[in-house]
Amino acid sequence: MSALAAGAAERGLLGAGRLLGQPRILVGGGILLLVALAALLATWIAPHDPLEQDLLHMLSPPMWADGGEAAFPLGTDSLGRCVLSRAIYGARVALIVGIMSALGAMLIGSTLALLGGYFGGRIDRAIGYVVDLWMSFPPVVLSLILLVGVGTGVDKVILAVVLVDWTRFCRVVRADVLVTRRRDYVLAARLIGFSHLRTLLTEVLPAVTPLIITLFSIEMGVAIIVEATLSFIGLSVPPDVTTWGQMLADARGDIQSALWVMLVPVCAIIVTVLGCNLLGDGLRVALDPRLRQRGE
């Protein structure tokens, strides 16, 4: 069956080529790759420890401005901490929260969507009611109650995002499962004797995987913003953990005199979330056979 293997390999190569041919995937993926590198290599590339306070250099401007120093490329905040270092270390929490929350929301949401959409009937209705009820809770209140109840920490933030956002996955993926479920090849697999589980995994899941991947990358962006929001109101992580949201909260007081301290985390958030959204949008086009044909 070497011909088959060759065919499969060729298909794989074509797939990779198609992904890289999308400018949105290149730009979005590039941004996320840089952020990930910064997070991984933070210990080596950051000029200072993010918590180290230099009280002689409080609110010093970026190095290119008047009074700036080369030791603090993007200046310092009101406690004399290096803004660049804090931004680099902040990428760690942002990425961990983004990836883990998206993963959690994806697992819960997609599983329920597959079960509901595939089996239909009572199961689908029950899941539908839960989603409706869940979505009618104001998300911020839900997260606040949770964080006040269980305390702060990165893992608690992830839990809060997952519990709020799994419904998004469930709704969107279920619609796609419903469409696939009606295709004759799903019935054909059942008639050949495939069990429900096997049919779900080999026939239905591959058809909705592109959508799940796309949602995943968009959800990462959403989670990063939620984390920043929660940090901003001081309910996310202990003060000794550096996050972009906390940088925002700290810079709030000096917004009149030292705008750059605020601008750096804002830019970091915007660029990272933009990267997630671009990647998601590019994947959506690249992985959807209908859009792909139109694009050619």
């Binding site: 069956m1 011909a3 088959l4 060759a6 065919g7 499969a8 298909r11 295709r183 004759d184 090849y185 019935l187 054909a188 697999a189 059942r190 008639l191 050949i192 004797g193 495939f194 096997r198 080999t202 026939e203 591959p206 058809a207 056979p289």
Partner: protein, 628 residues
């Protein structure tokens, strides 16, 4: 002449179809046709022949990347191609009217019939005070019952046939000089098709309109049209008086098309099937000579290099073929088989039945009201009994909604009956009984209607054909061969080329997909195949290939077949026994030849009258006034 098209050539530039840098391809090559006032011209061809492109060209909707490189389209003394866009738009909907293929999707769902019609009349310039009365008159003219009430109804409240009547009324409201009808009855049932065509003829005579009827059905065109032009791969292969083209077709393609259509009456014959399929747009640039050359049963060496010219065989009958061939047609491939003894598989009546349905009912309950307290029970299948013998080819005919597809789903076990018993190979199937379920899976397999939806696009042909091998415990018949062995064997069985194994459904043609569909059903070596409308989406020449494949498989592997179809000629060709279904019950049953020759039930008679006869001298369709 109301419309005359001369030497029209439409070319696809670099953007459309072909790869960048390829030279322009003539999508339509040298088309010449004309319709006079009060005449009907049929434009016949299989899908991809370019027939709809002619209609779109006249309407000015040429797709991007296509351009007319030669010829003219004269409408009432003016060249449509030279007219300014605004001038041309003034003609459309007024002097040139259209009837679309999909009546339901052509009416705005949020507007009532009256509002849609009123808008149309307003554009035509009818005074607002006169419009309401005019609408009722126009609707009455197309024999819609109670037109006053029809005005207030929405499209979804109407049947497909009624929607098409509304669209016909709108098309004739402007008293057009030219009407273009693109497959106006393809989306409709056989019975409403007859009504709609009869109505179209009546209105056309009344208004003395020139009609361009685009259709894939040669026989239907021969009865409805005065003249016919046959297209193949963008080339006009034959043109002439309708009766003559159907009665004495001269081009080998027309003859193959004519012969590939099974008959409802007359002697049975083996269908000759053309090998291969029509070349697509991307393949056209590589063909130097006659575009039919590769499939032509009587091709000469010269045909491959030189395009043929249209030659006049008899007055007004033009054929694009080599001079000798057109006048002295060689027998169509397979003609020699016609005389051979031929019959549909009768099956073994001494054995116990393979499948037996006893008083089976399948009903759906719709609930509504705040607590679901009100309910409506509708019977898709009503106390129906039937049996299928081993090796027998049985047909079920009926209109859509008669419950024929529900029978297929019941037999394969996709649906459990509300009441009654289903016995597979002598054992009753009870929901939840895994042993019988497995037994019935090995005994009965299904071929699906839409090959596009039935094949997982992410599986290769090999993994589709041998999907049953992925089960944890392979059945007895499977265990004897390895998966690659069985894959190669199935590929040969369904007549696919050896390199098809590694391809994906998107790389196959419609006919090839249907072959994979059949092959997958055959994998577990079932004793009964349930085929639900499996050829309705295919072109006539491909349909003949698939029908012959099924017959061959039936004879060789002794597989029984339950064919569910709305097409009576297909059922007659394959099946030795036929059941006619109406509203969930079987109204007539018997040997196919007897039922078709002497139908007893009025519904069977109605269905049979709705099929255009092969003999062009028989008047069809019946006039709209009389009930057919």
């Amino acid at each position: 002449m109301m419309l005359s098209v001369t030497n029209l050539t439409l070319s696809a530039g670099e953007q459309a179809g072909a790869k960048a840098g390829a030279k322009a391809v003539a999508v339509l090559r040298d088309i010449t046709l004309s319709v006079a006032r009060g005449r009907v011209l049929g434009l016949v061809g299989e899908s991809g022949a370019g027939k709809s492109m002619v209609g779109r060209l006249i309407a000015g909707h040429t797709p991007r990347g296509f351009a007319v490189t030669r010829g003219q389209v004269m409408f009432d003394g003016r060249d449509l191609l030279q007219l300014a866009a605004a001038e041309r738009r003034k003609l459309l909907g007024r002097r040139i009217a259209f009837i679309p293929q999909e009546p339901l999707s052509s009416l705005n769902p949020v507007m009532t019939i009256g509002q849609t019609f009123d808008e149309h009349l307003m554009l035509l310039g009818v005074a607002s005070g006169e419009r309401a009365a005019a609408i009722v008159n126009h609707l009455a003219a197309v024999h819609l019952p109670r037109p006053e009430a029809m005005v207030r109804r929405y499209p979804h409240e109407l049947s497909g046939g009624q929607c098409q009547r509304v669209l016909i009324a709108m098309a004739f409201a402007s008293d057009p000089a030219l009407l273009i009808a693109d497959e106006p009855t393809t989306a409709l049932d056989v019975v409403s098709q007859t009504h709609i065509l009869a109505l179209l003829k009546e209105q056309q005579r009344l208004h003395q309109t020139a009609v361009l009827l685009i259709t894939h059905d040669l026989r239907l065109a021969a009865h409805v049209c005065d003249e016919i032009a046959v297209l193949y791969a963008g080339e006009q292969v034959e043109r002439g008086a309708a009766r003559e083209v159907l009665g004495q077709p001269c081009h080998p393609y027309t003859r193959a098309l004519q012969a590939a259509n099974p008959d409802v009456h007359g002697s049975q014959r083996q269908l000759p099937a053309l090998a291969g399929q029509m070349p697509g747009i991307s393949a056209l640039s590589a063909i130097a000579g006659c575009r039919f050359f590769a499939r032509c049963p009587q091709a000469l060496a010269a045909c491959g290099s030189e395009p043929q010219l249209l030659r006049e065989v008899t007055t007004g009958h033009w054929v694009r073929c080599a001079p000798g061939c057109a006048t002295n047609p060689a027998p169509v491939a397979g003609d020699d088989l016609q005389s051979a003894a031929w019959s549909a598989p009768v099956g073994d009546w001494n054995s116990p039945p393979l499948v037996e349905l006893q008083e089976v009912t399948l009903s759906y309950t719709a609930r509504w009201g705040a607590f679901g307290q009100r309910k409506l029970v509708s019977h898709a299948v009503n106390k129906l009994s039937l049996r299928i013998q081993p090796g027998e080819f049985v047909g079920i005919v009926g209109e859509s909604g008669s419950g024929k597809s529900s029978i297929a789903r019941l037999i394969v076990g996709a649906e459990a009956p509300t009441a009654g018993r289903i016995n597979i190979a002598g054992r009753e199937r009870i929901p939840g009984d895994a042993t019988v379920a497995r037994l019935s899976r090995e005994c009965v397999q299904m071929i699906f209607q839409d090959p596009h939806s039935a094949l997982n696009p992410r599986r290769s042909v090999y993994r589709l054909l041998t999907q049953a091998y992925e089960l944890d415990h392979t059945a007895g018949s499977l265990a004897r061969k390895t998966r690659p062995e069985r894959g190669a064997e199935l590929l040969a069985d369904v007549g696919l080329p050896a390199d098809a194994l590694s391809r994906y459904p998107a790389q196959l043609s419609g006919g090839q997909k249907q072959r994979v569909n059949i092959g997958r059903a055959l994998c577990v070596m079932p004793r009964l195949l349930v085929a639900d409308e499996i050829v309705s989406g295919l072109d006539v020449s491909v349909q003949a290939q698939i029908l012959n494949l099924l017959l061959e498989l039936g004879r060789r592997a002794n597989v029984a077949l339950l064919l569910i179809s709305h097409d009576l000629s297909v059922v007659r060709y394959l099946c030795s026994r036929v059941m006619v279904m109406q509203a969930g019950s079987i109204v007539e049953e018997g040997k196919t030849e007897e039922v078709f020759a002497r139908p007893q039930h009025p519904y069977t008679q109605l269905l049979l009258r709705s099929v255009p006869p092969a003999d062009p001298s028989i008047a069809w369709p019946p006039a709209p006034g009389q009930k057919p």
